[in-house]
């Protein structure tokens, strides 16, 4: 058996940490370097313009930012309660056999490639929305949000389940000994004590939702304009990721269009890094 000296092990750990930190720094630098041309010409105020038409040098980011925010919001509104409920049922109510099956199904759900979710959305969800809500095609922010919710559900559920199971049995018993019923135990002991882990799961899910490209691109409609009115989630729209995915092939390397798409990537990366760090910071100490 391979035996490592503690100093060697520590060196490996440090090497891993430094590599990770270096990779993030290189990634951000690469995006910034390529987006610099765009920001140099248009400045940061372009983030708030609502027209995106690269052939006329119009680079408004607002529709894609709004679309990304809406899709993520819809996804979170569905996935948080569902994920939390599934975690509570799985860790507190059902037998260990069922618990294992629920966990396995969530892990399978987490492992399905995103393009498969996109195809499911394309062939199942869009026709359903089209027929039920009388939409032109079914492509919409609602479709993107629904698909995204399915994709981030396992992250929220699995993290919440781990957090709930991490609550010390002595705490549960102490609550029981004080005569608290199941609801009170859940609301006053389990959820508050598991909350740091649950919150961490939600933030990780936000990070995943922000970066999701393929599935969203297939169902969102990729229409570069603000929804009218802005809360109309039944209209086709655009997200930052689907814009990059759809247009990167058309943009000439080093062009302003290319640089604008890199700026989209930079915004996404900064927000995702922010959420990942927040999740890490909020992770409960064990």
């Amino acid at each position: 058996m391979l035996m490592l000296r503690p100093s060697m092990l520590a060196s490996f750990v440090w090497l891993g940490c430094l590599t990770a930190a270096f990779s993030i720094a290189v990634l951000l630098w690469f995006l910034w370097d390529n987006a610099w041309l765009f920001f140099q010409q248009f400045g940061i105020q372009t983030l708030w313009l609502d027209e995106w038409y690269p052939y006329e040098n119009l680079y408004g980011f607002l529709p894609a930012i709004t679309g990304t925010a809406w899709a993520l919001l819809i996804a979170l509104l569905i996935a948080i309660p569902c994920g939390l409920a599934a975690a509570i049922v799985s860790s507190e109510i059902v037998s260990s056999t069922w618990q294992a099956w629920i966990r396995l199904s969530m892990e399978v759900l987490a492992g399905i490639p995103s393009v498969v979710y996109g195809l499911i959305g394309l062939w199942l969800l869009l026709p359903l929305l089209q027929s039920q809500l009388n939409l032109l095609t079914g492509h919409s922010l609602l479709a993107a949000g629904l698909i995204l919710s399915l994709m981030i559900l396992p992250t929220i559920m699995l993290m919440a389940q781990d957090a709930l199971q991490g609550v010390a049995p002595e705490q549960r018993e102490a609550a029981k000994l004080l005569g608290l019923n199941w609801n009170q135990q859940l609301l006053r002991i389990l959820l508050p004590q598991a909350w740091p882990g649950i919150r961490s799961g939600i933030l990780l899910a936000v990070g995943r939702g922000l970066g999701e490209t393929m599935a969203v691109m297939l169902v969102v409609g990729s229409l570069d304009r603000m929804p009218q009115p802005f809360y109309n989630i039944l209209e086709p729209a655009q997200t930052l990721t689907s814009r990059i995915g759809r247009e990167m092939g058309e943009a000439a390397f080093g062009s302003l269009h290319f640089s604008a798409l890199m700026a989209c990537g930079l915004i996404l990366a900064i927000v995702a890094v922010f959420f990942s760090f927040s999740a890490q910071k909020m992770r409960p100490s064990t």
Partner: protein, 263 residues
């Protein structure tokens, strides 16, 4: 009086009688292993009853049966002739009525004051609980040590203080019976003494059943003593008498710190 001030909805009225809690032919099996075998005893309306015996004798399991943490037992447990299985207000309410303090203190991540009132109904917690907190901490012999830092996190207390906080938390529910599972097992002599003082004081108003491995403590607590071994009650008697003149061989062997062989 503790047993007359129960402010819990639907709690059945208790009429004082000599044998307040009666256990008859109590048996328990867990995963096909016999844990308790035909246990019968009773607790008087006041005073301390101490339960001693070797590890694995079923002492903790017995306490857990008494407040329905284990509910698959056979036999009968009655409080004032009311079977605890027929407790009208339900198991959760029964646990407010029979306070149990575990061996390892489990403190909630809240302030000292919030820990004391944790088990109270929300309506009661919203009211002014200053007097209640004061009284419970006094009874648990903890007031002097924490009176200036009631709003500080309870986890900052020492283990001995946490154990007394658990006692105060249980007392805040105004239980009519108090069960303690080795409450001083990991405490320093000073904390041990403080808990014993508060138990003796509390025992003037309610029955207390205390599991201990400490024979000196059993002697100090006085009252009734029950010796258990292999899930059975071997001998019962007044503590001083039983410790000095045990009648049964098993008890004598245990008191000589030898392994009990009940078969």
């Amino acid at each position: 009086m503790m047993q007359t001030n129960i402010d819990v909805k639907n709690t059945p009225k208790i009429h004082v009688q000599k044998d307040f809690l009666v256990v008859e032919q109590l048996s328990l099996q867990l995963e096909n292993n016999p844990i308790l075998n035909n246990i019968s005893f009773s607790l008087p309306i006041t005073g301390i009853t101490t339960l001693i015996g070797p590890s694995g004798a079923g002492k903790s399991s017995l306490l857990r049966c008494l407040n329905m943490l284990y509910s698959t037992w056979g036999g009968e447990i009655t409080i004032d002739k009311t079977s605890i299985k027929q407790w009208q207000a339900g198991e959760d309410n029964l646990r407010k009525f029979i306070g149990l303090i575990a061996q390892k203190p489990a403190i909630f991540p809240a302030s000292i004051a919030e820990n004391v009132t944790f088990g109270l109904p929300r309506k009661q917690r919203k009211q002014d609980t200053t007097t209640l907190i004061h009284d419970c901490l006094i009874q648990a012999a903890l007031w002097d040590e924490v009176k200036d830092r009631l709003n500080q996190p309870a986890v900052s207390l020492s283990i001995g203080q946490q154990q007394r906080l658990c006692l105060a938390r249980a007392l805040a529910l105004q239980p009519s019976i108090l069960l303690l599972d080795e409450p001083t097992a990991s405490l320093d002599p000073r904390s041990k003494q403080l808990i014993e003082i508060s138990l003796r004081r509390l025992a003037k108003n309610m029955p207390i059943l205390c599991v201990t491995h400490d024979l000196e403590q059993a002697k100090r607590l006085q009252g009734q003593l029950i010796f258990m071994c292999d899930g059975k009650i071997i001998e019962t008697g007044e503590s001083q008498e039983l410790l000095q003149n045990p009648q049964k061989l098993e008890t004598r062997e245990f008191l000589r710190w030898e392994v009990c062989d009940c078969d």
